[in-house]
């Protein structure tokens, strides 16, 4: 579906991505993990054409991204950013309606089919009831559902998300990932989500890519990636991986610094 081939990108003289290869097949749910500054967000922006790589290329359905028009890319790939800063106080409905931009010519008014697509997207994300509310006046969890609805209104084949749950409490984190998981299973939507939360990634994503200093250190099934040795090396932090007693999916436990444990043990009677 979407593929990065030998991708390199630098911000002026700072290298952010180096020779990245990644193949995402249709219908897969990928998690993109890695330490801060490892290039996760940059890779996501290269994949949807916001950033143009200096070397290598992105293939969308087998054809290079550069051979598509910008609007054609927007009809196939939707992006949910890390933080949504709305400079104008649109209603939730107007925000989702902007998701139809890639299908509309300049000065063309939205057609009935566009309004139907908006309603479908808002019903899927359970925010149809918010349609007349102003975007500045709803909570963070509600806003994120509206933003995902805007992305779905693009009726994309691929959904890219940059830490979609970064500012949400645990209930809303689960809500967002449940929604993504349902879209992936029921509609076959291909999803690639950047996540700092290894447990959410382990719980929901089928496949993971682990980035380290702009390179893909490992990519594959989540059990291969969520391995204590590999994570410990990349994050420079020892961890323990256990299966969740509830779902049986791999979960990562943080292991505090050894000296601290020893000193704590020493103090305890």
């Amino acid at each position: 579906m979407i593929e990065a081939r030998n991708l390199s990108f630098s911000y002026f003289d700072r290298k952010a991505l180096e020779d990245v290869d990644l193949v995402v097949k249709a219908g897969e749910f990928w998690g993109l993990i890695g330490p801060n500054g490892s290039g996760k967000s940059t890779l996501l922006k290269c994949l949807c054409g916001i950033l143009a790589p200096q070397k290598g290329e992105v293939l969308l359905e087998g054809k290079p991204l550069g051979s598509y028009r910008r609007r054609e890319i927007a009809q196939k790939i939707a992006m949910v950013p890390q933080e949504s800063a709305f400079s104008l106080n649109f209603t939730a409905y107007e925000v989702v309606l902007l998701g139809r931009t890639p299908y509309l010519e300049r000065m063309q008014l939205e057609r009935i089919s566009d309004h139907e697509a908006v309603q479908r997207a808002m019903e899927k994300t359970d925010c149809w009831g918010l349609r007349d509310r102003r975007i500045w006046e709803i909570s963070g969890g509600e806003r994120q559902r509206v933003v995902i609805a805007r992305a779905l209104a693009q009726t994309p084949r691929v959904l890219l998300l940059d830490e979609p749950t970064a500012h949400l409490d645990i209930a809303h984190q689960v809500e967002v990932y449940d929604l993504l998981s349902a879209l992936n299973r029921k509609e076959g939507l291909t999803i690639l989500a950047v996540s700092h939360d290894l447990n959410l990634a382990g719980e929901y994503c089928g496949r993971l890519a682990l980035l380290e200093q702009g390179r893909v250190r490992a990519a594959g099934g989540k059990r291969d990636i969520l391995a204590p040795g590999l994570l410990g090396e990349v994050y420079k932090q020892s961890v323990s991986v256990q299966d969740s007693p509830v779902t049986g999916e791999p979960h990562v436990f943080l292991v505090p610094n050894k000296q601290e444990i020893q000193s704590r043990e020493g103090k305890s009677p």
């Binding site: 002026f12 922006k45 949807c48 054409g49 916001i50 028009r69 910008r70 609007r71 054609e72 890319i73 927007a74 009809q75 790939i77 939707a78 992006m79 950013p81 949504s84 800063a85 709305f86 400079s87 104008l88 106080n89 649109f90 209603t91 107007e94 925000v95 902007l98 998701g99 931009t101 890639p102 509309l104 300049r106 000065m107 805007r150 693009q154």
Partner: protein, 321 residues
């Protein structure tokens, strides 16, 4: 939807009303009937009609470009002068005045000053082919300050032209057109109207930009080319207005806010509503500017005096709602 059309109807009626008032009010007695038979009142054609048209044009350009800048820079504090274009134009006009150039060359020099500023800001702000909003603002403020100081220098060195320069700085619609300057006015009007159409043409792009530049890009909007186009096109229109009417303040900042309070944030409606409201506000301000004091006041003083209380009223009303 119905109430929105009604708002536009009201705005349009208000502009017509203000226009009629502007033609009637003044030292020479003119009745409403004379408007239909202008040949009987020559003052209408020689003085008041050009003044009215200049007012409508300037108000429309300033308000709509202000709205476009606020949208494209994603900053509610932006106004048409934020990129320094008006300082450049005023500086050009002041230099022309100080050199004793004629009434045709003054607006030409003003446009030249604005274009030099535009080029400077554009070159300063561009980083690797992109035009980031923050560097654009910074470059605009720097260029604006530089040309403002240059203008002060011209003012300090000249003596006789001080009053004329003050009128350029504060804005003045009382231009007496000769056949040559009238041609210039017509050319600039046509250019400005074309510019405004281009600005409106981008309404959906401006809406998408409100979601963030990267999101707009992911929606298929060519963000950088939209920014460059609007920046250049608005600056050309603003330069023309400043060259003819001086840098009239406040209209371009406050009117888009009023339009948004009336109609919500959609640029498809905010831009044309700003056009109508800006024209009306400026025409009304001009009527006051030439009738409240024994001598004519610069219209820019009145736009602020009129605009601020109206803005405060709307803000209070919205707070209560």
């Amino acid at each position: 939807m119905k109430s929105r059309s009604l708002v536009f109807l009201w705005l349009f009626a208000l502009l017509i009303l203000a226009s009629c008032l502007s033609l009637v009010v003044g030292p020479t007695q003119v009745s409403l009937k004379d408007i239909l038979h202008p040949q009987e009142a020559p003052v209408l054609i020689t003085l008041r009609l050009p003044r009215l048209l200049l007012g409508i044009l300037a108000g429309a350009v300033l308000a709509m470009c202000g709205g476009a800048f606020q949208g494209v820079l994603r900053n509610p504090l932006a106004d048409p002068y934020i990129l320094g274009v008006s300082s450049g134009a005023a500086c050009g006009a002041a230099v022309a005045l100080a050199l004793g150039l004629g009434p045709v060359l003054i607006p030409v020099m003003a446009v030249a000053g604005a274009m030099i500023t535009l080029y400077l800001v554009y070159t300063l702000a561009r980083i690797g082919g992109r035009l980031p909003a923050d560097t654009l603002l910074l470059a605009g403020v720097i260029a604006g300050n530089f040309f403002a100081s240059l203008l002060m220098l011209v003012m300090a060195l000249s003596r006789r032209e001080l009053r004329e320069i003050v009128f350029i700085l504060l804005g003045n619609l009382g231009v007496v057109f000769t056949s040559k300057t009238l041609l210039l006015f017509e050319a600039m009007s046509l250019a400005a109207i074309a510019c405004l159409l281009v600005v409106w043409w981008h309404w959906r792009d401006l809406n998408a930009l409100a979601l963030g530049e990267e999101v707009a890009e992911s929606l298929g909007v060519a963000v950088d080319s939209v920014k460059k186009t609007l920046f250049v096109v608005c600056s050309v229109a603003i330069a023309g207005v400043v060259a003819l009417a001086g840098s009239i303040g406040f209209v371009g900042f406050v009117v888009p806010h009023i339009a948004r309070m009336l109609l919500g944030p959609n640029h498809r409606e905010v831009l044309p509503a700003s056009l109508l409201l800006g024209a009306t506000l400026l025409v009304l301000s001009d009527i006051l500017a030439r009738s409240i004091a024994p001598m004519e006041l610069p219209v820019g003083i009145v736009t602020s005096l009129l605009g601020v209380p109206f803005f405060v009223y709307l803000l209070q009303k919205r707070k209560r709602a």
